[in-house]
Symmetry: C2
Subunit: 105 residues, 2 copies
């Protein structure tokens, strides 16, 4: 038995999408690292234990889609890509800190 769904996108809770965009594989770790510095794909791969290209790609794309991260092609000497927190992403920092505090019990 299933409660009828008029719309498959039916939102029961406004925070749900945001919560989901932070809870996939590697997302928390990515966010955490993004707080202190711009991210590079290959260094994420080295820094996050158990990560792999595919899931990093997925995580980065989804966080971009949620407007938490912005992908920037740095037009400099050794041309490369950086991911930086957007203003919306920065608003999440205190939420994250609270979450970390709570998880220490």
């Amino acid at each position: 038995m299933t409660t009828p769904q008029s719309n498959p996108e039916e939102e029961t809770c406004p925070a749900q999408a945001l919560l989901k965009s932070l809870s996939g594989k590697n997302k928390a770790a990515i966010f955490r690292l993004a707080v202190s510095a711009p991210l590079r794909f290959s260094s994420l791969l080295r820094q996050i234990p158990g990560s792999n290209k595919q899931s990093l790609t997925v995580a980065l794309r989804e966080m971009e889609a949620e407007a938490l991260l912005q992908r920037v092609v740095v037009q400099e000497k050794p041309l490369h890509v950086e991911y930086v927190l957007t203003p919306k992403g920065q608003l999440l920092i205190p939420v994250f800190e609270q979450l970390e505090k709570l998880s220490q019990e």
Copy 2:
């Protein structure tokens, strides 16, 4: 290619487990309803669009395991079960509120 994992439980970010325990199917909706009143299984089923017994059971069990909800058998006239927020669950309320505020943009 995968970064080596010494321990499969390797925690890259302390908030990750907590985040996960809030992001499964129906969890946000359950939490939200739990803020205002004790929950009954059958009314959750009616109130949450797109929910079904199995996923509610899973969500409730996991939130219990994370110590966000407590399952209480109410020894009264029509013997029944209630789920209530634990103190740890209550600490999450402000986090949730911030998350909801942020998701409105």
